[in-house]
Symmetry: C2
DNA sequence: CAGCATCCGCTTTGATACTG
DNA sequence: CAGTATCAAAGCGGATGCTG
């Protein structure tokens, strides 16, 4: 928590969240909502446990993290973001947008957690058919599941399986992201090993909310059944 | 330059710009445009010279900083941002916005450079009277001068004196910022030692571009002469 | 003087082990 | 599960020296 000692808003912000691992801890809490210490460890591969403990304490003192004891049935401590912590979301959004091109140069040894998809999906996708009834997409990768709910003009994400998804996508997280962002056609994604089962209209429904990630749809491909697939 | 080793856009971004001092170096380059090594040192009080040199090299390798030899008359190396480096502006904007409330708790020993004002002014102010001819404001604090050009709906900032300003504001940088952002009335700013000479309509013309910083103008105060004041 | 490189003491980080 | 304790390694801050 060394300070830059500069009377500058940016420097003051970095005094609080500029330390190593800090913004990644906020990322995990934004994705997961209130969660346990071990969940954080799982989502932050490579962090030393003493560092995680220390950061959580500092973030709590800074009013960014809130510690709460879970409701009676469970005996666990939960860590969550305060409103002040949630206010960091635009920062992560812009930083992630800037860093997105760097993902291409990601090394083979890099850790990969499917739930990391949740943040870019929430940030950069939008519901291209706001009038249609809500639809649900389940993503599966690396033993994790993410539910993507599209409806009313917005896209929401949750960790875990969806009860009754309209489609299920399985495969490499990066390919799934590229597919949903419209940067990769379904045909090419399938050729690269992505499995798509269910209603493909959900796929066409999500759209990048910026003009950047242009969708490469030429002609509507043969649509599959609209019936939910088995969970 | 240690990597988090995570295939996540945010982590990749922090691999590149997450090190200590890095984003503050980008801040200086955004404010100043291409400038010399010693200018950077002056704008980054507290940085060790070996760190600055090392960071500049790393940032150059990362494609964020560009090194150019100054035109013939001057014998100096200039450091500037590449387009990729300028793309960090939204990140600094959001981080600065988040950190702004922390400025209140700034310690007495904190370093203060008037040119740091340039970034928040550029980010958060707007021209409230786009149809009026352009106006210029000169800010003076701590031996530094900043020109603020208001016109055509936008606000631009430059370092250095303005040739023919419509008004000159002198005093504590934080008070000047609060005054321009409409969070401090001219009367209170003057009571705190801020000197305002020239046309006060320029002051009423700049407006925070967000709904956050509400201007506290009740009734139009007696306006001073529109003639430029002496530089 | 501008633009570094080197050295040294200190702090932070990382890996592991251990505890209530 | 939720941390604390320990210790080696890396990074940082400050001073200084070198090169045009």
């Amino acid at each position: 928590m060394r300070s830059y000692g500069q009377a500058c808003a940016l420097a003051k912000a970095l005094d609080v969240v500029g330390d190593r691992w800090t913004l990644l801890i906020v990322r995990e809490l934004l994705i997961r909502g209130p969660c346990r210490y071990t969940d954080l460890q799982d989502g932050l591969p490579g962090i030393a446990t003493n560092l995680l403990g220390g950061r959580l304490r500092e973030l709590q003192e800074a009013g960014i993290v809130r510690r709460e004891d879970a409701p009676p049935p469970i005996a666990a401590t939960l860590f969550g973001l305060t409103p002040r912590g949630e206010a960091l979301e635009p920062v992560l959004k812009e930083l992630g947008r800037w860093g997105a091109p760097l993902l291409a140069g990601s090394a083979r040894g890099d850790a990969l957690r499917a739930h990391w998809l949740a943040l870019p999906l929430r940030f950069y996708l939008t519901d291209g058919r706001p009038r249609l009834p809500p639809a649900t997409l389940e993503l599966r990768a690396g033993g994790e599941a993410i539910s993507v709910e599209v409806g009313g003009g917005t896209v929401r994400t949750r960790l875990g399986s969806a009860p009754n998804p309209d489609a299920i996508v399985t495969g490499d997280p990066r390919l799934i992201l590229a597919l949903l962002a419209g940067k990769l056609s379904l045909a090419k994604a399938r050729a690269s090993g992505v499995k798509y089962a269910g209603d493909t209209s959900v796929l066409r429904r999500v759209r990048p909310s910026t003009a950047d990630g242009r969708t490469t749809r030429k002609r509507r491909p043969a649509s599959r059944s609209r019936a939910p697939v088995a969970g």
